[in-house]
Subunit: 110 residues, 2 copies
DNA sequence: CCAGGTGTTCGCCAACCAGCGAACACTTGC
DNA sequence: GCAAGTGTTCGCTGGTTGGCGAACACCTGG
């Protein structure tokens, strides 16, 4: 499987990141990764079609929020670009993740 | 002038806030208010039509990011809902504002 | 009362976005 | 080689968004 392209850490744009996070499905992806990195795309328990899911992963990847590497078999290994995000936007990811649990507990528990 | 309605602090939604902030003109408004509260809408140095500006203020207001009160004369006094945002989403606003200066310095200096 | 200044609202338009299914690509395993 | 499994891409659709100008509402000052 072709490796996908990712923005460099220093090219990560705040508007792209905020836009990527301003959507419940994508937020759930991020939140799930924050709890357990390295999952393939299909393991997020989101009730959307494959194509829609793939599009959401693409938005997150192109915003620089997640990294998608070719994993074993045909899976994509998704990881949060935690350190890079923290270096560029200190505290942002953590405060957003904390905010989600405050504002959208259903998502947090589901 | 009619007073405008604002969401209660506890009803502020993280997705609405992130969406509101994921736009350079609106971000500039927030950033300007962070530096100096209480300005009328026309004093933000944004090169957009009045109607577009008004729409952006509406998005920010309905998201709970800013408060718009009827000021002296016909002006709206815009203020950041800093304390309320901080209470609900601790650290979020500050990290976003800091992130903007990192990611969009042109906006910061303009 | 009328003019000037500030914002809001209303159409309108082009662009974007989230959703889907179908088809394709790629790897593993039989 | 072929089926199964996982993601991606493409085309399409409906809804939302951001932009504008024009018209209106409202207050202040002549």
């Amino acid at each position: 499987m072709k490796p996908l392209s990712h923005p460099r850490a220093e090219d990560i744009n705040i508007y792209a990141v905020l836009h990527a996070l301003a959507e419940p499905a994508r937020m759930k992806i991020v939140q799930t990764l924050a709890a357990a990195d390295g999952r393939p795309c299909g393991t997020f328990g989101i009730n959307l079609s494959k194509s829609t899911l793939s599009a959401h992963f693409k938005v997150l990847r192109e915003a620089g929020v997640i990294r998608q590497e070719t994993g074993p078999g045909n899976a994509r290994l998704n990881t949060l670009r935690r350190a890079e995000l923290n270096a560029r936007f200190p505290g942002l990811l953590d405060s957003v993740l904390q905010a989600v649990e405050e504002s959208d507990p259903a998502l947090a528990s589901g």
